[in-house]
């Protein structure tokens, strides 16, 4: 169970590494749903390349695809992202506070080192 979840998070982060895929997700976040050709439009890449990106996003569970006739509609599936964001946010708070304290301590030591030399 834990391994499964870890694996899923890895896939989410893996999918988010690519700029085109992040742009596709951002587009879906604004629009709710879009067709594949609508998604391909802003990018200077061919449709098959867009399809490949959509496959990665789909495997990571970040989108759903539904077909009506010849038109494929893509929708955002935010759950995995939410899970990843929870992880990020929790650690961002934790480390941010830690690093503030580290910085304050190091700056104190620097001031001491300078005063000691005089």
């Amino acid at each position: 169970m834990v391994n499964y979840k870890e694996h899923r998070l890895d896939r989410t982060f893996g999918a988010l590494l690519d700029g085109t895929r992040r742009a596709i997700l951002a587009h879906l976040e604004r629009k709710e749903s879009a067709t594949v050709s609508e998604l391909a439009e802003p990018f200077a890449i061919k449709l098959p390349a867009v399809m490949k990106h959509l496959d990665v996003l789909h495997e990571a569970g970040l989108i759903t695809r539904s077909k009506t006739g010849r038109v494929v509609t893509v929708r955002l599936r935010p759950e995995p992202m939410r899970e990843a964001m929870t992880w990020l946010r929790r650690y961002e708070r934790f480390w941010s506070k830690n690093l503030d304290r580290l910085a304050a301590y190091a700056e104190r030591k620097e001031a001491e080192a300078r005063n000691g030399r005089r």
Partner: protein, 149 residues
């Protein structure tokens, strides 16, 4: 696989920042998200060396984390595996992640860049077997340097 990166500019020279990161005396002064005390800090500052930090937060809860040093370059770089060993978020117990810290000298002192990334399961297992993941990284970097020279 980068997940979270924070950058801080610190008005202190890199050697001082590095000492604060790697010595038990230094860690004891700042580790933890609030003013609660560090209860224990152990660091074996070499590749393959372990570290352990235990702290108490102001709400009274105690947390302990530890890991293994995968890379260490004096006043420049520190890479370690990292996990909560107690008191962490329950769903993350036993999960190993990776922390990379780079220090860069700047006019005002040091630019510290901190990355907390998830290790893939295979990668974490491999790095626990003698930390060769770190050694491999170094090899790749050396190759890149030679290549660009």
């Amino acid at each position: 696989m980068t997940s979270l990166t924070l950058v801080r500019r610190i008005r202190a020279r890199p050697s001082i920042v590095f000492e604060a990161l790697i010595t038990p005396e230094g860690i004891g002064q700042w580790w933890g998200p609030d003013a609660g005390p560090v209860l224990l800090a152990e660091v074996d500052a070499r590749i393959g060396g372990r570290f352990r930090v235990r702290f108490r937060m102001l709400d009274g809860t105690e947390h302990e984390s530890g890991g293994e040093i995968l890379e260490i370059v004096e006043a420049k770089r520190l890479v370690m595996s990292w996990q909560w060993t107690s008191g962490g978020e329950s769903e993350e117990n036993g999960e190993v992640s990776r922390i990379e810290i780079d220090l860069k000298r700047i006019d005002s002192g040091t630019e510290l860049s901190f990355t907390h990334a998830r290790l893939r399961t295979e990668a974490s297992r491999a790095s626990h077997e003698r930390g060769w993941a770190g050694a491999l990284d170094k090899l790749v970097r050396r190759f890149e340097t030679e290549h660009s020279a």
